[in-house]
Amino acid sequence: MIRYIVNRILQGIPLLFIISIILFVLMMNMGDPIATMGGRSITRSSDRVRLTRQLGLDQPVYVQYLYWLIGNDWAKIDLDGDGIKESNGTRRGILRGDFGTSLVNRGKPVTKVIGERLPNTLLLMVASEIIIILGSLLVGIYSALRQYSILDHTITALSFIGYSMPIFFIALLSMYLFAILFKRWGLPYLPTVGMFDPQVGKTTAQVLWHMVLPVFSISIISFAAYSRYIRSTMLEVMSQDYIRTAKSKGLPRREVVYVHALKNASLPIVTVVGLDLPLLLGGAVVTERIFAWPGMGRLFLDHVSRLDMPVVMGILLLIAVAVILFQIVTDIVYAWLDPRIRYD
């Protein structure tokens, strides 16, 4: 098993290289970071020339990738535009732990840009994920056991309706309903945007209160998918021979369901959860945007729209690393849950 884990980690390294090269090339062909630096007007040509040179964007793609990877402190660069490479580069490259600095927030290290947002995103996403998993386990198992009961149909219908609307629409509608209309009707209402009310300050209660709507919007979407998935796997397992055997042996129904069936049904569920967890780092792009939640999804959106390559690459690679680690964990859990699966 340890050999397997080490192997997987070693396999992850070339994977990261491939991802980074593909993304880098994509990013280089998506637009021009200088284009939006002039604010409301078009960037002046003298500034365009100077910035392209100073930020190293005039170099061929492979040179830029190399500098991004291993830094340029060993090379000379031309800052003043006289065509002579006179200054020492200062970047150390991602392999030496330097993720570079943001092009938009010039001078701000990428690690800091991302680090400031990560806790907010985790707060929002982990809360949502807990609600989603617990809720959908309950509902999914219930629906599977009482297949075609009235409640099963009702739950199915409701969760499908939630699942069938674009999240931005649910988010905006719920904001409109719970924040604006409730206030107008004199009911207790929820806040619209942000993490806290500046008049009160950033207290735990405020943050929790401001989390209600975003968490609701995120949960409502994934809840249906998860609970449907659990229901469908449970149904499949429940019709297996060994469950029937267990039942006919006279084992208590409780034990049959929660011990034998759920354990086997959990295999595909673990796959899905294992895949989803690291992606939580990315946050919820649309929800964060609408509720002005300062998370990673919004960070990505803001910076990709201005082609802030170092930050975007930083976010994507951070997630990629998390995914690789979680995949290994998922595989281990797999082998543990299903002794028939061997990795040796």
Binding site: P166, F169, P268, F300
Partner: protein, 318 residues
């Protein structure tokens, strides 16, 4: 397992039908189960009506009418002349939901064809053969999965944006952004399916019936497609139907982020996005496209759900 006549399902079927009638084939059985799945039937009927609405509607209202602007008629509430009202530049919303529906449905279907094909192929090969093939394919899958889908969609949409020219198809001119959306949704969504298929293969290939097939010298291709794959159909069907729904929703998300199908080509997604500033002042702007998306996704999901129950050879519901 399907090949074996002693399948418990068929035994049950035999018992149910009595001995006078010949045993039902699996597809008959599936159809029977499906028919009794009320929500699935509802889904199938609604979906058929939606297709009729989107494609039949174009016989009644022309596309140029759907794109006809009249700013003096902007944001008019539903009336006899404009049953669904008009939008922010005075276009008829009824006509736009018809032509938008064509695009939305086509995006959903074609994206899922790409998705399912890639997902099954990669998942089956990886799960069945294992070894280096598994490693290679799963590394590729992981490379794709390592980036959240919405991020990939954004990056791809920006990468392809404005690079694909207009094309002509079934008598309509599509802006290049439609193709971009189909392709990017298709190639960014197959990975989950591949993982699920692989997981199924991983556990099924150790089952007795596969081992038995091996022993009798059945070819690998036959084992994959005739023995294991049919037994993995349930999750594939569930995943593919959710996929169609997902693709339609993904188009709406991308539209909300300003990277979707560009007007004046309508889709339900970009119509809904264009309505976000009129939640209160002009509800008909969002109500109709929103309702159509809801109905479509809902009925596709019901349909998939019914298919799951009906196709599952081990399901006891008849």
């Amino acid at each position: 397992m399907i090949m074996e006549s002693t399948s418990p399902n068929q035994l049950v079927a035999l018992n149910m039908e009595g001995l006078d009638t010949p045993p039902l084939t699996l597809s008959q059985l599936a159809w029977r189960r499906f028919r009794r799945h009320r929500m699935a039937m509802f889904g199938a009927i609604v979906l058929a009506l939606l297709f009729l609405y989107s494609f039949g509607g174009s016989l009644v209202l022309s596309e140029s009418y759907a794109n006809h602007t009249d700013t003096s008629l902007r944001i008019m509430s539903p009336s006899a002349e404009h049953l669904f009202g008009t939008d922010s530049v005075g276009r008829d919303i009824l006509a736009r939901t018809i032509y938008g529906g064509q695009i939305s449905l086509l995006i959903g279907l074609t994206a899922v064809v790409i998705e399912t094909f890639m997902g099954i192929l990669i998942g089956a090969l990886a799960g069945y053969y294992g070894g280096w093939i598994d490693s290679l394919l799963m590394r590729i899958t992981e490379a794709m999965l390592n980036i959240p889908e919405i991020f990939l969609l954004i990056v791809m949409a920006k990468f392809f944006g404005g690079k694909i020219p207009e094309i002509e198809f079934i008598g309509r001119t599509f802006s290049g952004s439609v193709i971009v959306i189909v392709v990017i949704i298709g190639i960014t969504s197959w990975m989950y399916l591949a993982r699920i298929v692989r997981a199924q293969f991983l556990s099924l290939k150790e089952n007795e019936f596969v081992l038995a097939a091996h022993a009798t010298g059945t070819s690998n291709v036959q084992i994959i497609f005739l023995h294991i794959l049919p037994n993995s159909m349930a999750p594939i069907v569930v995943s593919a139907t959710l996929g169609v729904a997902n693709a339609i929703l993904a188009e709406a998300y991308i539209s909300f982020l300003g990277l979707g199908v560009q007007p004046p080509t309508a889709t339900w997604g970009n119509m809904l996005d264009g309505a976000t500033n009129y939640l209160e002042s002009a509800p008909w702007l969002w109500f109709f496209p929103g309702l159509l998306i809801l109905l479509t996704v809902l009925s596709i999901n019901f349909l998939g759900d019914g298919l799951r129950d009906a196709l599952d050879p081990r399901s006891r519901a008849i």
